[in-house]
């Protein structure tokens, strides 16, 4: 991991500017769920190539439903709307979801058709700092290591879009901070568009170009994260006041009493 952090300046290059090309992902009028009070009630969302979007919201607001719809995993859910996603989409789940009966290497090559799958997978594992662990069983790794294997599995396919459903939710605080740095580096190197579902405001500000807050199945708030506001690799924002203002703003949008929540 140190190898990744070494090459970074105070403001990571990937965050300096949100791309402005035609959208890679477009969602229009997405409705999902049963009954009068659906899970998603008409969501519109665009994601540009290489853009990092964080999807915030209280639990039950439909953020995972939206991600699963984009991943094509909602076979049995009723709904309507238009979704355009690129061909190469990877999903990182909250649990690392490694096949327990396959080695670390086997898990990363899963679904890779090419003849040099092993070489690619070894390279991806080295990139997440797990070179030499190819032959281990998943249960022999720590939670953070398992999640790094999952990241390697996601990125070895060179996705245009990475869908991440609270990928660090089950990790301890220290590991999570390290994983933030790793994810930032990997995204800078591979430049996929990212949709990160999270309930952690600080995680969203630390990683995203743009933050979308979902409430009652609708997009309630959208905020761009200026580069100087986002937490740098060094761990501190250049514009501390702006950072705090955005944080309060988002917490308010999430329905948290800011006078109590802030410190």
């Amino acid at each position: 991991m140190a190898a990744h952090a070494g090459g970074l300046t105070a403001v990571a290059p990937s965050r300096t500017k949100a791309p402005t090309e035609a959208p890679l992902v477009s969602v229009r009028g997405l409705v999902r769920g049963f009954g009068p009070k659906g899970v998603l009630n008409g969501v519109d969302l665009d994601i540009a190539p290489g853009e990092f979007v964080a999807l915030l919201g209280p639990s039950g607001c439909g953020k995972s439903t939206l991600l699963r719809a984009l991943a094509g995993l909602d076979h049995d859910v009723k709904g309507s709307g238009v979704i355009n996603v690129p061909d190469r989409v990877s999903v990182a789940f909250q649990d690392s979801r490694l096949l327990p009966w396959d080695t670390v290497l086997g898990n990363v090559t899963l679904g890779l058709g090419d003849h040099d799958a092993d070489t690619k997978a070894r390279r991806a594992l080295a990139e997440v700092g797990l070179a030499g662990r190819e032959k281990s069983w998943p249960h022999e790794l720590s939670g953070g290591e398992q999640q790094r294997v999952a990241l390697a599995r996601s990125l070895v396919r060179e996705p245009q879009l990475l869908l991440a459903d609270e990928p660090f939710g089950a990790l301890d605080a220290l590991t999570r901070i390290k994983m933030h740095g790793l994810l930032r580096d990997l995204v800078a190197a591979h430049r996929p568009a990212v949709l990160l579902v999270t309930h952690d405001v600080d995680e969203a500000i630390a990683l995203a170009h743009r933050i979308v807050v979902l409430d009652s199945g609708r997009v309630a708030t959208v905020r761009a994260v200026a580069p100087e506001i986002g937490t740098s690799a060094a761990g501190t924002p250049t514009d501390a006041a702006g950072h705090e203002a955005l944080r309060r703003d988002l917490l308010t949008a999430l329905g948290v009493d800011v006078t109590v929540a802030s410190h």
Binding site: S90, F93, W101, D102, L110, G111, P138, H139, R153
Partner: protein, 287 residues
């Protein structure tokens, strides 16, 4: 305060520290709830104890040889039967029947379980009849099988097959259906096709269930074998025992039982060995 230091050094290398030589390891470990580490050949302990008990009872005269022959008589009988070739001959034919029945039963059971587990149509057509077959004692089918196939090898192998495929089917099917849906989702997100999905997710996921079924199946194969060989047969271990009954040769009957016991123990050991190798990714109490 030195207690902590002692603990640490003891844990690292007690044999290298002369001041600690011969001292007890004082690591403060909690009580272990699992059965502990696997020990080599521990599985032979129970059968050996049983053998010892039998020998002791015979040697002290507690056990009348007319009721149960002495172990040494059984060993001597085995020597005689091996010398004139009868034991090998009958053992070979018995092993062939059990092996063939087991083989066909495994294939049929596993294929049916896959078809029934992977498609709703397959389940609708296969699962019901298999459950009905399960409800009918396998041995109750023998009269019908004799009418259909006579009393030759086909009937014998078929009886064993019918007994074997049920546990293979049931356990494999249960293992397959027990595969976590999350892995199915994963397979979809990484774009596995159906063949790769079966090879990388379904088969390895169903393997623990298959092996459980296999252990039932192996035992079941020997049970069916005894029955078909004692009812209508002119060869095999069961026939040998049945013949001995006519002449009141307890020693041969006991030898037959011992052979069945050894075969059962050996085959179960082989299955467990293969299972341990194939499922080395599992972390369970079995160790």
């Amino acid at each position: 305060m030195s207690a902590a230091a002692v603990v640490e050094r003891t844990a690292v290398a007690p044999h290298q520290d002369p001041t600690l030589a011969g001292r007890e390891d004082v690591r403060p470990t909690g009580r272990r709830l699992g059965p502990g580490r696997r020990r080599r050949l521990a599985g032979l302990l129970g059968p050996s104890a049983l053998l010892l008990l039998w020998t002791a009872a015979s040697a002290t005269g507690l056990l009348d040889p007319r009721i149960l022959s002495e172990p040494w008589t059984v060993v001597a009988t085995a020597g005689e039967l091996i010398a004139d070739g009868r034991l090998q001959e009958n053992l070979a034919i018995s092993a062939q029947r059990a092996g063939l029945g087991l083989f066909f039963g495994i294939v049929v059971g596993a294929v049916l379980a896959l078809v029934s587990g992977l498609s709703r149509a397959g389940e609708a057509f296969i699962d019901g009849p298999v459950q009905i077959k399960r409800a009918i004692p396998g041995l109750a089918l023998i009269p019908l099988l004799i009418l259909w196939f006579g009393i030759d090898e086909t009937m014998k192998v078929l009886t064993i097959t019918l007994g074997v495929f049920v546990p293979i089917y049931l356990q494999t099917h249960a293992g397959l259906r027990g595969i976590d849906l999350r892995y199915v989702e994963l397979a979809q997100t990484v774009g596995l096709n159906r063949a790769a999905f079966i090879r990388r997710v379904v088969l390895p996921g169903a393997l623990p269930g298959f092996f459980l079924g296999l252990r039932f199946a192996v035992t079941g194969a020997w049970v069916s074998l005894v029955v078909v060989e004692q009812i209508n047969s002119t060869s095999g271990i069961g026939y040998m025992m049945e013949l001995a009954r006519t002449y009141g040769q307890t020693n041969i009957i006991v030898l037959g039982l011992a052979v069945y016991g050894i075969l059962g123990l050996l085959s179960d050991g082989v299955v467990r060995f293969i299972e341990r190798k194939a499922l080395s990714w599992q972390r369970t109490l079995a160790g």
